[in-house]
């Protein structure tokens, strides 16, 4: 038997990561992949992992601050990403992969994905403002076609979103999926061995579990 795949779920200090761990365990069991997943705030543990998950909740600036407060963590993530370790950002963890965030002032992000996280201003076809945050299940479309993370997922299937900021100024070739909320909204970004979902994979039922299983199988 081979050793289980080591997954580090990096904790930027925002709290509820139990759901991410549980969803990973379920996705791995369904996929028949032995994993050892753990939440960590330790750069050495992150450096030793086979795959990295970067979750996040709350505000962009707070999440970046939390990550920067972990000694050596940002540098470790940058090194591992450069070395080819697959990394998945979730929600604010996806957002901080952008160049900067505009929530509570301008905050530099990790800069792995082109663009900035700007406030959404969604309106319905009649021009009336749509509720914010966007909260709930919305459909996924795949403008660039297939990607290993999307295997088995059909356009039009739903994922669970909660956000008020969205990626703008992006490169179309870094957008793997969009959704529609008063116009197209970036739902999944990807570049090389990093990817990020604006929605909560761990709360997106079968669709989310499939994306997690795809991430475990991904060999970018």
């Amino acid at each position: 038997m081979s050793a289980p795949m080591r997954i580090a779920v990096v904790d930027p200090g925002s709290g509820n990561l139990a759901s991410v761990l549980r969803a990973l365990d379920r996705a791995a069991a369904d996929a028949g992949i032995p994993i050892a997943a753990a939440v960590t705030r330790d750069a050495a543990e992150a450096a030793a992992a086979d795959r990295l998950i970067l979750p996040g909740q709350g505000a962009f600036a707070a999440c970046m601050r939390g990550l920067a407060a972990l000694p050596g963590m940002v540098e470790t993530l940058e090194q591992r990403v450069a070395a080819g370790t697959p990394l998945l950002g979730i929600c604010v963890g996806m957002q901080i992969m952008a160049e900067r965030g505009l929530e509570h002032g301008v905050t530099p992000g990790l800069g792995w994905i082109q663009g900035e996280m700007a406030p959404m201003t969604p309106r319905d076809p009649d021009g009336a403002p749509l509720p914010l945050p966007q909260m709930g299940w919305n459909t996924l479309e795949f403008p660039a076609g297939g990607h290993p993370l999307l295997a088995g997922i059909r356009p039009g299937e739903h994922a669970y979103f909660v956000h008020s900021y969205a990626l703008s100024g992006y490169r179309p070739d870094q957008v793997l999926a969009t959704t529609e909320y008063g116009g197209p909204v970036v739902a999944i970004v990807g570049r090389g061995n990093v990817a990020g979902t604006q929605f909560h994979v761990e709360k997106s039922a079968a669709v989310g579990l499939r994306i997690l299983a795809n991430f475990l199988r991904w060999t970018p």
């Binding site: 709290g15 509820n16 139990a18 549980r22 709350g58 709930g136 669970y160 529609e180 709360k203 039922a205």
Partner: protein, 256 residues
């Protein structure tokens, strides 16, 4: 398109479901974890637990229920009832809840909503507004399960709570609750016109048509308890009615 959310609510007391679903397949109709799992399989877009009669002593039971549910049910989970402090919110979120719903404590201490939103983000904070109509176009906020009037105007309160950091409002009509006569649509429209955050409509569902009415009145989520518990209709029936009315839903085919 963003789908309307159909949300079953489970009343939980001392770790047991008070009004249980009558599905023949259930081994233990009183087990909230099994109930939540069943609802998730039936197509629920979210599940809400309401801890009724929550006391300081039995909180640990609820955290355990939340933790066991989150291990098996991969849809959003909201927990309300007896949430009185930032620490209560923290423990619920760490146990696996996605959102904590604050009601009476927000009235007693409005700043709690702001502090909780600053600590965990607005997306994790729901404020429950229990309202009773006092005159045409006027509603009053009630607390303690609708037993205590506060004299607070519900529309102004909804606005204030959204500004304080609530990411969502759970709007329950105490007049309609238990009557099966439909949501208080005037109340929903009046609050929708005043706040930008999503609204969950609650109180009064008796038919699948009531879900359609609630959605058209501006609710993003539609919550019901007894019609689901007693099997009068199923979540798929509510979604079929919404879809037939041209409203977006997450189809059952994606659930399994």
């Amino acid at each position: 398109m963003l789908a309307l959310r159909v949300i079953p609510c489970l009343d939980v007391k001392d770790g047991r479901v008070v009004k249980g679903v009558n599905f023949v397949s259930l081994r233990d109709a009183g087990d909230p974890v099994e109930q939540a799992r069943t609802y998730s399989r039936e197509g629920a877009d979210e599940v809400t637990f309401l801890d009724i009669g929550a006391t300081h002593e039995n909180r640990d039971t609820m955290y355990d229920v939340v933790s066991r549910t989150a291990a098996e049910v991969f849809i959003p989970l909201t927990v309300g009832g007896g949430v009185r402090s930032v620490e209560d919110v923290r423990r619920l979120l760490l146990a696996g809840a996605d959102k904590a719903s604050i009601n009476s404590a927000a009235v007693a201490e409005p700043d709690l909503v702001t502090r909780a939103a600053e600590a965990f983000g607005s997306q994790a904070i729901v404020v429950a507004v229990d309202a009773r109509q006092v005159s045409p176009g006027r509603w009053e906020v009630f607390t303690h399960g609708g037993r205590k009037g506060t004299g607070i105007d519900a529309l102004g309160w909804a606005e204030r709570m959204a500004a304080a950091g609530a990411g969502e409002l759970l709007v329950t009509s105490m007049d309609r609750d238990g009557t099966k006569s439909g949501f208080d649509l005037d109340l929903l429209r009046a609050i929708r016109a005043r706040v930008r955050v999503p609204i969950i409509a609650s109180g009064g569902v008796g038919t699948v048509g009531h879900f359609v009415e609630g959605a058209r009145a501006g609710a993003s989520g539609l919550l019901a308890a007894s019609v689901f518990h007693y099997g009068e209709f199923r979540i798929a029936d509510a979604k079929a009615a919404l879809a037939a009315a041209g409203l977006p839903v997450r189809p059952l085919a994606e659930v399994a």
